[in-house]
Symmetry: C2
Subunit: 502 residues, 2 copies
């Protein structure tokens, strides 16, 4: 058998697995955006069936044989070898999870999502507790199956960011906390900024048009995507040419919609920028979620909250919201870069955001260490918020029910948000060096140079390299918290006049 | 192995096949209602992958073994035996179609749908010709594979209406033509009716609210369904609790939207009324498409175009469209029951509708007899329209490109529309006898007695019986064209004053 034939036989089988994953993504998107309430049970079964088939295909002797033949036919250190290595890693991971567990997880995720939506809408944890208990139970089984002799929670962390461990994350959050805790305290003692430029009345239809215009200017291709309303914004990929984002809005504040859309469009740009010639192969996917988050955060925070960006955006803002026709970029800037403890992660400022993540990391660690049961989570959540941010939710919808992740069965996911913030700051620092006067480009809406920098340093690699490897390649340095801390302390100094040594 | 265990093992495997079918239906619905243009190729591959897996499951030794064990464990003439008999019929059919052909068909259908949408929008047959040629070629292969020693076109007809043959349909269309052709001619010589009560300006949002209100009053459950816009209206089922309908509208005429929605909601009521305890079993589906069409046509024509119905609907119509506040049911009735040759099947009146179907039957017969190639279809279509209806399309979008069916790979489907009209008239005649004063019920919006009559005579049986069997059971007589012809000639007499012997 010729080299190309064995390799392409393997890719053909792999394409089937990819198709099932993308098909499931469509079913899930529909579940969240369009499905009528009574369709939930049937949808759960369909998703479970597809998950079971995907699992069977991944662990099949046919795929294993094809891999064995293909690996003998490719050059070491070639792209083909990298494709096969990634496939092997994913197959090995899958083999560790029994088929019944995979099906049970898919069912529990559909049930969980549905229950969470109700529980959140009605601020009633009891409506979600049973489903969450099942999700935790099954994810403990999954973690143990994946970890073998290792630590279960690390096995879950590794799913979302390769090589990420609890032992590494504890000092990372400590390093951030050492700077951010006193900084947030100092900011809290300063004069609050005027947030009125971002507040008022914003017509939802005008918000949608304005946000879509910004996403399109960023380079998000609406002919290969779309924007829909959901409870919790997300980005999802159904294959080459179909990468969708979702949003939500508040009528009295432009920030949730605008920065939600810029965030998700940032994710979308990454997915739309994956090399099309790799479609349906093992490497046709984004790298770890930390890298993914770096892309969304860069467009949301580094670009969208900069004063330079607002020199371009402001005329559009004035047209979309005539009530706001007298706001200047200089007035808008502080309102977008406030720093204060809050309850909702997705609407938190850049600095405290990392403490929101630290809360979840702390709660998950305890949950997977086994010392906590699900019934205790609401209080543990609120208490940890009080410890780290000094605030306590009045409604459980703003407490332990605020995030979709656990309802989707995603445990070990949250830390990738802060890893993403680190990566974002370090990559943006480098992009700024490489691109010359980036602020002048942003100020006239020229976002393409930055996008092309990301395409060539990140997107074009698919998941060939880990997040840490790509950071090293792009910046010449290992991943570090320093660029993020420099950025955040500089903001605090400019907006609040507080000076914190990094 | 106990009886129930072997039987339930079989149903478990069958449920997987059902889930894949419903999953594909979601992917197709999204493809038509939501998918961005560039997602078409990837979506086609996903659908082909799922179709291939479904096919493999249907013809698998595992399913065959399970069936053999199950059949030995059930009582003859039981419900379980009926379930297994239906499964066997479907499996045998599937076995005849090679896997490569099933995958190629799924790919050709996705490509065809996409090409047809473009070709129709641009009135350019060339943009669809290549895809249609592929669809015809593959469907000829499919027909031959299914027919064995029989006639290929009959094998396709049988897919959509069990036991339907070209030899039976030719005299059926002749019987209809013998009455309808002189009737339509006589009507054409009479004074045209005033259609202005149904024409004017109708705000799309008001149309939507008004049509949804009617569908809800009919009993269509929006918590187990939804209404979306598509090029061509349809109804699709994703399992228990999720049966969706689609619509389109014209701003200058209420009829396309209103009767499109009543039609699709009629289909939806059938699907929503299938016995929930049979979900994911072989019998949990509607019977042949003729029976399906009888349900949609009954709500659209027998109910929605009756004067009695408008005594209930008119106040709602006045509120939705204040410009029309002086229209009476008596004025509206003739505008809804016109009879004149037209170009668009889905907007045709009840009488000429059957001639539209006859055109398609005639074109398909020739196409599958092999004497015609795809490039000749536009002219054959136009010529047949001229022969049967005396009209010729000015734009190819109103000619051979008007229907979605061939683009979806559905050949042999059209005759079920006229079979449905026959069934509809015969069932409605019986319902009228059984329900007492049906007109008084319709006149106050009491649609539930009719719905319950349909539930118990049709919906509750799933696909346990054929259309012809259910007609016999419900009416005590074999299916006949006479009730339809009586209905149509009575309408022509009332609206146009022409008298035609049946």
């Amino acid at each position: 058998m010729s080299q190309s034939s064995a390799y392409s036989d393997f890719l053909k089988l792999w394409g089937i697995v990819t198709d099932l994953e993308h098909g499931s993504a469509v079913l899930q998107w529909d579940q969240e955006t369009r499905m009528p309430a009574k369709g939930a049970a049937a949808r759960g079964r369909i998703l479970a069936t597809v998950a079971g088939i995907r699992h069977d295909k991944m662990v099949s002797a046919e795929l294993c044989d094809a891999w064995n033949k293909a690996i003998d036919s490719v050059e070491a250190d070639s792209l083909e070898a990298a494709q096969l290595a990634k496939a092997k890693m994913l197959i090995d991971r899958e083999v560790k999870i029994p088929a019944e567990l995979a099906v049970a997880l898919a069912e529990a995720e559909s049930a969980g999502l549905h229950a969470w939506q109700h529980a959140r809408a009605e601020s009633d944890f009891a409506k979600f507790q049973k489903e969450l208990e099942q999700l935790v139970k099954l994810n403990r089984e999954k973690a143990s199956a994946l970890a073998g002799a290792g630590r279960p929670y690390d096995a879950l962390l590794d799913l979302y960011e390769e090589g990420s461990t609890e032992a590494d994350l504890v000092p990372m959050f400590a390093e951030l906390g050492d700077v951010l805790a006193p900084m947030i305290k100092a900011v809290g003692a300063s004069k609050p900024v005027d947030e009125s430029p971002a507040q008022g009345h914003f017509d939802p239809a005008a918000q949608k048009a304005y946000c879509k215009m910004i996403a399109a200017q960023m380079g998000y291709d609406f002919e290969a995507g779309r924007l829909d309303k959901t409870t919790h914004p997300f980005c999802t990929t159904f294959g080459q040419g179909d990468v969708r984002i979702t949003w939500r809005w508040q009528e009295n504040d432009i920030r949730p919609a605008m920065y939600g859309v810029m965030h998700e469009a940032g994710h979308g740009l990454y997915e739309q920028g994956l090399p099309s010639e790799w479609a349906r192969t093992p490497l046709w996917a984004a790298s770890g979620l930390g890298m993914h988050e770096s892309q969304s955060r860069m467009w949301e925070n580094m670009v969208g909250r900069s004063e330079a960006f607002w020199h371009w955006a402001m005329p559009h803002f004035h047209i979309a919201f005539p009530d706001k026709a007298d706001v200047t970029p200089e007035q808008m800037f502080p309102a977008l870069n406030t720093c204060k403890p809050s309850l909702i992660r997705v609407e938190a400022d850049e600095a405290t955001y990392n403490l929101h993540v630290a809360v979840r990391f702390e709660v998950e660690r305890q949950l997977f260490a086994g010392g906590v049961n699900v019934a205790e989570l609401p209080e543990l959540w609120d208490q940890t918020y009080e410890n780290l941010l000094g605030v306590r939710a009045e409604s459980i919808s703003d407490g332990v029910l605020q995030d979709i992740h656990w309802a989707m069965g995603a445990f070990g996911y949250f830390p990738t948000y802060t890893i993403g913030n680190l990566v974002c700051a370090q990559l943006f620092e480098q992009a700024r060096k490489d691109l010359g006067d980036l602020d002048s480009q942003l100020a006239v809406g020229e976002f393409d140079p930055l996008l092309q920098w990301l395409r060539s340093n990140v997107h074009q690699h698919g998941r060939r390299y880990s997040t840490k490897e790509m950071v090293q390649m792009a910046t010449g340095k290992p991943l570090s918290a320093q660029p993020l801390l420099s950025h955040l302390t500089a903001l605090a100094e400019r907006v609040y006049g507080v000076s914190i040594p990094v």
